[in-house]
Amino acid sequence: MTQAPAPIPVHVPSTTQPEDFFQLLKPRVMSLVVFTAATGLVVAPGSINPLVAAIAILCIAVGAGAAGALNMAIEGETDALMRRTRGRPVAAGRLKRNDAIAFGIVLSVFSVMLLGMNTNWFAAGLLAMTIVYYAVFYTMMLKRRTPQNIVIGGAAGAFPPVIGWAAATGSAPWQAWLLFLIIFLWTPPHSWALALYSAGDYAKAGIPMMPVAKGAKSTRLQILLYSLIFVPVAIAPGVVGMGGGIYLTVSIVGGLAFLALAARLWRSRAGDAPDKAEAVGREAALYDVRAEAKPARNLFAFSILYLMALFAALLVESFVVPGT
């Protein structure tokens, strides 16, 4: 009597849409990366062919998107536990984890290769390092191990202006690293302000963000301390000659507002109570929070505006003011 043959495994075709792959790239983060990288490239001394510049920016953007895709692939199960992220393609089951990983790796390789061919291999190496730093060092190693995850991991978001500068000049002098430092020091108050009103989400997912690990009061104090260091560094380009009058005005006025918001947050009780959406048990928009958490929301929103204004001021001065 013969045995029935074993069933042949069949790959079941998915209904994954191209839009799901696009969402993997984290378009909102990509837009900030493009902006800061373009600023680094434009502000760097010397001239660069506009087409070369455009392709370089595209490579940096795609590389950043690839890092985001790898992050979403690795964090799929964790993202499914958090309100803010459970709609993401891998978390929601619209896209397979392995497909996201393959997508991220292919984009990483092609973006680094094309950047190297288009500009120089130093910039390409920096881009490769940024992708590995974010996907491996931050996502796989740091995120769940320390409340300082965002401080160290935030460096990944600070590299784009250095990469842009390196793409234009082939080197990364201290001026490029000053732009790096601005974003590096901006990241903790920005991220912790958000974490203050979504701490419940992070706790559910087991991520030791500062409000979960050290409490809301400690987080508010650390936000203020980081802000006190960040604002002078943000003003520094205007003092050392990288930026002119426009930059100095924007950085000082915006910096004072940033400090005022950080101080108000420090004195508030933001983060002490569960956030609004959690209490009501529903999905919430990013800025829909309890009254007590509004100082955190306001600082989070203003931090985005301030960073964009700083880099916009540098860009405007590069085009409008000769010699800068």
Binding site: T15, Q17, N49, L51, N118
Partner: protein
């Protein structure tokens, strides 16, 4: 064993295939453009170098004659 796709799966696969094709074509265009620009830059630099060499003052051969 044949696999039969539902209309939704077929539409999704076709859409993905189209975007993969668009991506590949865009990549080829970028590689071509990059190669062309680098070659042009190299040719310009080479031409400038050749011109500089051509217009450099000739070595004074008469120095050898006057020293004798």
């Amino acid at each position: 064993m044949p696999v039969y796709l539902t209309p939704e799966q077929l539409a999704a696969r076709n859409k993905r295939s189209l975007w993969i094709a668009v991506g590949l074509v865009a990549f080829i265009v970028l590689i071509f453009t990059t190669t062309f620009m680098r070659m042009q830059a190299n040719m310009t630099a080479r031409t400038a170098q050749d011109r500089a060499l051509a217009s450099a003052p000739a070595q004074p051969a008469s120095m050898a004659e006057t020293s004798n």
